[in-house]
């Protein structure tokens, strides 16, 4: 058992205020976990613990100013030393007597902290993510000391494993569900950075004038596909009108387009009443036309295709589905999406954007899923961080998104920010789909129908369910080898569905 003491966070510091506890009694802590926030005269600093163990009693309550070296909490270490867990008195002073004032190890780390503090770069932002956040190391736990440790905070589920107290605390503060996160720390642990970056990435904001924005909304035109001619590429009302008249102009004789004019001069300008379904569909057609033309004009596509044996996947799915009511059963699409997303994590060069002449990796795998609408047209709602979802969660998200997409009920955040799009025409019965990339993304994954085919494996011929997976990729961003690696990964992943 050791004491967690008020560190000296600078040569001139002789006392500090314990500002906040980030752990509570019973929490398991590892070396390097942040235990508390201490306020010095210069800054609020997170103080780490240097010994693995379980947090015992907290001896000092937040807001208390204590001298350096004062024990702040008791850390119960290995069982052998744990006998005197509550022995050393009930107040801080008694604790100070009973325990070595400053554990040997504490000199080093706090000095680091104090360097940070003394640079004075950041006066007080104690929630500021600091580069030097120590990930909870994947330390092998010493024999568990307390079988009956108090319950962990209510975060459960496998993915949350390895989330330290600080991380859990942060997750609660930020309202992030740890189970939805994919840990990037050692051993897949969820780090503080993961929590901090858990917010869905914002779609790049379209630069548009207020009036253009309003008009686009009234006319049902997606600003993201309107070419802005204003200052700095800003979309102006004229551009919105141009996008719209270009659409309606399909049947009309070529119209000398003077995008500078708009408003009242157009007999039908700015009349929201025209927002009829057909109008909307036409608008969408036009938007798709613009986007796809741009894609084919700008993006040198290359295409790869491979046929994936789905025997293992189907077997596994059948086993899983056996005990489930129909509504909860998995369909192949969920596995295919999951495989596509996971492979994208493995081959990140295909998961991002081509912007300003360079590749910009996406943050996380945000899968766009092409959904065809009954009245025609396409939407590609986004499943954020699809690679971190279980097939079941993915399936639920997919169902929900498809339904809402078809009802026109998508939220703004769900329509933008995809880093890779998947199109699946399996339900339409075709075997292979070679897609057109959705700019500025750099790849599009296609899946055809799952069909039974004669299949040779291990020198034997059998009948197997197979699916053709294709990749359309931007040759500026990657070459065929990268694409091949991706499709191979999809294939490999689908052979071990239980690991998806």
């Amino acid at each position: 058992m050791t004491a967690f003491t008020m560190p000296s966070l600078g040569a001139d510091m002789d006392e500090g205020v314990l500002q906040e506890w980030l752990v509570s009694p019973g929490d398991r802590v590892r070396k390097g976990d942040v235990m508390a926030v201490v306020e010095t005269d210069k800054a609020a600093i997170e103080v780490e613990c240097f010994e693995p163990g379980t947090v015992g009693r907290l001896l000092v309550s937040p807001g208390t100013r204590v001298p350096v070296g004062t024990p702040l909490a008791v850390i119960e270490g290995e069982a052998a030393h744990g006998v005197r867990a509550h022995a050393p008195g009930t107040d801080a002073a008694a604790g100070a007597d009973a325990l070595p004032p400053v554990p040997a190890g504490s000199q080093r780390r706090p000095r680091e902290a104090s360097t940070r503090a003394e640079t004075g770069r950041r006066p007080a932002p104690r929630r500021e993510p600091q580069k030097a956040v120590r990930e909870p190391k994947a330390v092998r736990e010493p024999a568990v000391t307390k079988a009956k440790a108090p319950d962990e905070p209510a975060v459960s589920g496998a993915p949350a494993l390895g989330a330290g107290p600080l991380v859990r605390h942060l997750a609660v503060l930020r309202g992030v569900d740890l189970t939805t996160l994919h840990g990037t720390g050692p051993g897949g642990r969820i780090t503080r950075g993961d929590v901090e970056h858990a917010r869905p990435p914002l779609a790049p904001r379209v630069r548009a004038t207020p009036y253009a924005r309003r008009l686009a909304q009234e006319l049902g035109i997606d600003l993201a596909v309107v070419r802005g001619t204003g200052e700095g590429g800003a979309v102006r009302a004229a551009d919105v009108h141009a996008a719209r008249t270009a659409r309606t102009g399909g049947n009309e004789p070529e119209r000398p387009q003077r995008p500078g004019r708009d408003g009242e001069q157009h007999p039908r300008g700015a009349v929201p009443a025209e927002d009829r379904p057909e109008e909307r569909t036409e608008a969408m057609r036009r938007a798709i036309a613009d986007l796809m033309s741009r894609s084919k004009r700008e993006i040198p596509h290359y295409y790869l295709s491979t046929v994936v044996d789905l025997t293992a996947a189907e077997d596994w799915m059948r086993r899983i589905n056996r005990g489930r009511p129909p509504a909860e059963r998995l369909v192949p699409a969920a596995l295919l999406l999951k495989a596509a997303a996971t492979a994208a994590r493995e081959v990140p060069r295909l998961n991002g954007y081509w912007q300003n002449g360079g590749y910009v990796p996406g943050s996380g795998v945000n899968l766009g899923v092409a959904v065809s609408l009954r009245q025609g047209g396409l939407l590609a709602p986004v499943i954020q961080r699809a690679d971190t979802l279980t097939p079941d969660a993915l399936m639920a998200r997919l169902k929900d998104l498809v339904q809402r997409a078809r009802r026109g009920r998508l939220r703004g955040s769900e329509t933008a920010g995809a880093t890779l799009t998947v199109t699946s025409l399996g339900d339409q019965g075709v075997e292979t789909v070679f897609g057109v990339i959705h700019p500025p993304q750099v790849a599009l994954v296609g899946f055809g129908a799952v069909v039974e085919r004669p299949w040779a494996t291990g020198g034997m011929l059998g009948i197997r369910p197979v699916v053709t997976a294709t990749l359309a990729a931007d040759h500026r961003a990657t070459d065929g080898a990268v694409g091949a690696r991706y499709l191979t990964a999809v294939d490999r992943l689908l052979q071990k569905p239980e690991e998806l």
Binding site: P210, Y211, R258, P259, G260, D262, G263, E264
Partner: protein, 359 residues
């Protein structure tokens, strides 16, 4: 909203006679002096000299020294006397040579004229009309050339008018005198010599509302007073380039007619405010702010402002002209606002390889 669409001086009036802004003003004074015995004119040089800009020439002879009174060089004193006379039931018209000098009477205008009604619980209206020239352009150097009407437009309790046309010059005085509150009339010095046809049917001016002097669809040029002719010239220029500019003449600087300004911008979606005042803290700033507050979602471009350079107005002719808003600057601002060059350019760039005809 019933904006009176008063036409700028032009041949469109069915009948009328040619006159000047100065004569129109004089006629308005004459009419006021004739029709109401309580009206008298007071100020430096208004009598024997005929007014420093010749506006009151001949009135002394016609109405006598009781009604056309020369005052010593003592702005605070004679403006204060005018306020006293107004409180006592008279209808004084006080002339201050230029807005620069009016600052000497600012204490009277702000602390007495503008506040007495309020401070007396509504018992002491101050029906005074104070006329003064404003603006530059005639090489009178800094101390005679500034445009400070925006400062007066800042003050609650005042009505601030800026007649820019012959009709307004002729017919704004009567409603100003009828107003129970102090009214300041700013006459831009460069307008006095403007001549044109004063429509015979021009009646009393609606001093509560701005006027659309020219209709257009692409951009609103919002201006007043001495900048109106410049804005109209700019609109002509813009029209030859295919841009249809609407010109709004504020006429009343306080209160501002939000409705007319807003209606115009809601139609054109772009605004250029032309104000001879300095940009910082100007009337143009106020209008720009109001447009953002009230019509943000109608704006298709940032509000542009064309104001005077932030220097004391220079004496040297070229420097003076360079410091003031000019039609070229207004045209440029309007084009920026419409994005005309950019739009045309972008279009041309795309088509160039096909047509092979670089502009």
């Amino acid at each position: 909203m019933t904006a009176t669409h008063t036409r700028a001086a032009g041949p469109t009036a069915s009948s009328g006679r040619t006159t000047t802004y100065r004569e129109a003003m004089r006629e308005a004074l004459r009419e006021a002096l004739r029709t109401d015995q309580r009206v008298f004119l007071m100020g430096e040089d208004v009598g024997r000299y005929g007014g420093c800009f010749g506006v009151s020439l001949g009135l002394l002879e016609e109405f006598g020294p009781e009604r056309v009174r020369d005052a010593p060089l003592s702005e605070s004193a004679f403006v204060g006397a005018g306020i006293g006379a107004a409180l006592a039931g008279m209808r004084p018209i006080v002339e201050i040579m230029t807005v620069n000098f009016s600052l000497l009477a600012l204490d009277q205008i702000l602390n007495n004229a503008a506040t007495l009604l309020h401070m007396s619980g509504g018992q002491l209206p101050v029906p005074i009309v104070i006329r003064m020239t404003t603006g530059a352009g005639r090489q009178l150097a800094a101390q005679h050339s500034h445009s400070l009407e925006g400062w007066y437009a800042h003050i609650p309790g005042l009505r601030v008018l800026a007649p820019a046309t012959l009709t307004d010059a002729r017919h704004m005085l009567a409603p100003a005198l009828a107003d129970p509150d102090p009214v300041l009339i700013f006459e831009h010095g460069s307008l006095y010599n403007v001549s044109g046809v004063l429509p015979a049917d021009a009646g009393p001016v609606d001093i509560g509302h701005a006027a659309v002097r020219r209709t257009g669809t692409d951009v609103s040029l919002i201006t007043y007073g001495g900048c109106l002719p410049k804005a109209l010239a700019a609109a002509d220029d813009l029209a030859s380039g295919g841009i249809s500019a609407e010109v709004v003449d504020l006429r009343s600087l306080r209160p501002l007619d939000d409705a007319t300004i807003g209606d115009s911008v809601a139609r054109t979606h772009r605004a250029v405010v032309v104000d001879e005042g300095w940009r910082t803290g100007s009337l143009a700033a106020e209008i720009s702010a109001r447009l953002t507050e009230q019509h943000f979602y109608d704006l298709d471009a940032p509000v542009e402002r064309v104001c005077s350079a932030e220097v004391p107005v220079p004496y040297a002719r070229r420097l003076e002209q360079a410091a003031l808003p000019q039609p070229d600057g207004i045209v440029a601002a309007a084009r920026r606002s419409v994005g005309d060059l950019v739009a045309a350019g972008a279009d041309a760039v795309e088509r160039r390889p096909i047509t092979g005809g670089p502009g």
